[in-house]
């Protein structure tokens, strides 16, 4: 028998881990002399207290859904894609290229093009590390980190030397044409109170669609079956006639594509131009989101929502309680990764012991009662 019921594994343990992360974060806040309780209130109110807050929370969550799915898909094939940051940046490049160079008649068509280009560019950026992993066994964690830095240098170069508008001082591209602007929350959900200021935009629905797509892919298709098989045991996959090179490549292309699509939300949906550093660490947040969400789309959505709220709440925190830096969000993120990822066993081992002893007791009772 398993040492633990399944629900404990997929719900209880992540919950305890997140709780631990929050408690330690609270301790940090207390140590720097602020009230964790008040900080929590500010964050919750800031994230969910108004349509404005929701607008930002869901906007950030959209980013994290994409990057979280990207990490999750790769996790299923036991590939650790730390390259979401670079893949998203290059995805943004794809969006900018296609939106700046073609006169799009309507945003719907432009959006389709942006989806294709962002995904293709993100996938292309993942392709080299994937190929090196599959064919040459070069550790994908290291190569994707290296590719993050290369992407960042490339983007700076292009923004400064190619995209920068004549006469402008800022390293950013020209604005995209008005026809390509995506409907914002105010346009499609104004009745919920969203004003013009909320950056939440149509991309949110694409993110949700991506979740459904990933769920179908991983749990319903032959490809997903092969990805999961490969992730659990490479030798077994080979035995079953699954080609490891092919699976590694395809999985990383999908992963990179998903990360690249994050750029739609920021570059096309919000900034409406390509700006420097627009990814803002979302690629890394994806790691925390995937770990916390146990690599399942539903978990990813929930975790992305939590991190969206943390990011928006964190911005409010900095505003309302200037003594707490916005970097507190990074601390919380680090602790979530630490507890749900690296210190998983710290939570798991006592839980397993607990459920084991519970079962022993139940078995002992079952043993004794008929004798009575």
């Amino acid at each position: 028998m398993d040492k633990m019921p399944k629900w404990a594994d997929v719900i209880l343990i992540p919950l305890i881990s997140v709780l631990l992360a929050l408690v330690v974060s609270g301790l940090v806040v207390a140590i720097i002399g602020e009230s964790p309780w008040q900080a929590m209130q500010v964050m919750v109110r800031g994230a969910f207290g108004s349509a404005y807050g929701w607008g930002y929370t869901l906007y950030y969550a959209t980013n994290f859904i994409f990057t979280g799915l990207a990490v999750a898909v790769a996790f299923h094939a036991r590939l650790f894609n730390i390259g979401g940051e670079g893949q998203a940046a290059i995805g943004g490049l794809g969006v900018a290229i296609i939106l700046l160079n073609v006169a799009w008649p309507h945003w719907t068509i432009a959006l389709i093009a942006a989806v294709i280009f962002s995904a293709a560019f993100g996938a292309a950026w993942a392709a080299v590390p994937a190929y090196l992993q599959a064919k040459r066994g070069s550790h994908i964690v290291i190569t994707t980190i290296m590719f993050n830095y290369i992407a960042s240098a490339l983007l700076v170069y292009l923004l400064v030397n190619v995209f920068r508008v004549e006469g402008s001082m800022a390293p950013e591209s020209a604005r995209f044409a008005a026809e390509t602007h995506l409907p914002a929350a105010a346009d499609f959900a104004g009745f919920l109170g969203f004003g013009g200021s909320a950056p939440l935009n149509f991309t949110f629905f694409i993110a949700l669609a991506a979740c459904v797509g990933v769920w179908l892919l991983i749990w319903r298709t032959r490809l997903g079956y092969e990805i999961r098989s490969f992730g659990h045991s490479e030798t077994a996959a080979v035995y079953a006639g699954i080609n490891p090179v092919k699976i590694t490549m395809i999985t990383m292309l999908i992963s990179g594509g998903l990360a690249g699509m994050m750029a739609i939300n920021v570059v096309m949906g919000e900034a409406e131009r390509l700006v420097l550093d627009f990814v803002e660490g979302a690629g890394f947040v994806g790691i925390a989101v995937a770990l916390m969400g146990r690599s399942h789309p539903v978990g990813v959505v929930l975790a992305a929502l939590l991190f969206g709220a943390l990011y928006q709440g964190g911005a409010e925190l900095q505003f309302e309680m200037p003594a707490i830096s916005r970097e507190m969000v990074v601390v919380i993120q680090a602790l979530v990764i630490l507890f749900t990822g690296a210190l998983d066993n710290m939570v798991r081992m006592p839980m397993q012991a607990f459920f084991l002893s519970l079962r022993r007791r139940r078995e002992a009772q079952a043993h004794n009662s008929p004798a009575e």
Partner: protein, 308 residues
């Protein structure tokens, strides 16, 4: 309630943002009022910061830094009842006040001082991000130096091409070392936080340096020759004092408006001789009177004085 957004580098950069901060603090201590502030941590946050303040009802909202211009041009129309003040940038909207400084004029004065203090006949400049705004500093500086010594050599280096260049003291220091090797004995830093590295190396190597934006003379007494003052503090103070009714449109602060100048205090009193002071003050008067025309780099993207 007024509000201010500081650019990357933060309000304690001892330079540009700190000047803005000082203006806000001066207003607060004089009136006892409170103001809201946001220190930007990344480029991508600009819009959210502006919207956040506008949503919360702050008015006027002052923002420091040319990088705010593009996002502000998007945000300003969404909040027609809020007055925005942008320093170092121009945004064409009815509710925006754009404050521009004639940095070339102030730089001209410190360029003169540099050339007068130099023994080697070579002076240098370290800029932050390579943008026309900073070239305006460099060009004014070179013109001032050339006015004192027509044979002067001016070496100019930019730290980088992205906003990270405002906060890279190590690189600033390295550039300074290189300039010293080429003979420079006065270095002018117009580079935000990067300038701290420039001033440090200048002090270590025993040459003069010139600070920027705020008065930086106190940082290394005896080494900092002077500072090119840019009265961002005044611009902020004015906006805060006048409130939402502050006049919109483009406002240029030059020598005449006391928007730029050079710093003289107890830390550099011994470095600036009476003779130097007299020469500079005369030039100042001539510029205000229009007798000396200091060329503004941003007008045509070129500089009459050759720099290396």
């Amino acid at each position: 309630e007024p509000a201010i957004i500081f650019d990357l580098g933060g309000k304690f950069d001892r330079s540009f943002n700190e000047a803005a901060f000082n203006g806000a603090e001066l207003w607060a201590s004089e009136t006892g009022g409170t103001y809201r502030e946001i220190e930007l941590q990344s480029d991508a946050q600009r819009e959210q910061a502006m919207r956040r303040l506008a949503e919360s009802g702050a008015n006027p909202i002052v923002m420091a830094g040319f990088s705010q211009a593009t996002p502000l041009s998007v945000v300003a129309p969404d909040y027609p009842d809020t007055t925005f003040v942008i320093i170092d940038g121009v945004v064409d909207a009815p509710n925006v006040r754009s404050v521009i400084f004639s940095e070339h004029e102030g730089s001209y004065l410190v360029g003169m001082l540099a050339a007068m203090a130099s023994e080697t006949g070579t002076v240098s400049f370290v800029g932050g991000m390579d943008i026309p705004l900073i070239s305006r500093f460099a060009c004014g500086y070179a013109q001032g130096a050339a006015a004192v010594n027509p044979d002067v050599t001016v070496i100019a280096n930019m730290t980088g091409t992205t906003p990270a260049a405002w906060n890279d003291p190590v690189r600033g220091g390295e550039l300074t070392r290189g300039q010293i090797a080429q003979g420079s004995d006065v270095v002018y830093a117009a580079a935000g936080g990067t300038g701290l590295g420039v001033l440090q190396v200048a002090a270590d190597e025993g040459i003069f340096s010139i600070g920027v934006d705020s008065n930086q003379n106190y940082l290394h007494p005896g080494s900092v020759l002077t500072s090119m003052l840019k009265r961002v503090d005044v611009a902020v103070y004015d906006a805060f004092t006048t409130g939402p009714e502050v006049e919109t449109g483009i406002h240029v602060f030059g020598l005449a408006e006391e928007g730029v100048g050079y710093a003289l205090d107890e830390f550099n009193a011994e470095l600036i001789t009476a003779e130097m002071q007299a020469a500079v003050d005369a030039a100042r008067a001539q510029i205000i009177a229009g007798e000396i025309m200091v060329h503004n780099f941003t007008e045509d993207g070129s500089c009459p004085v050759q720099m290396q």
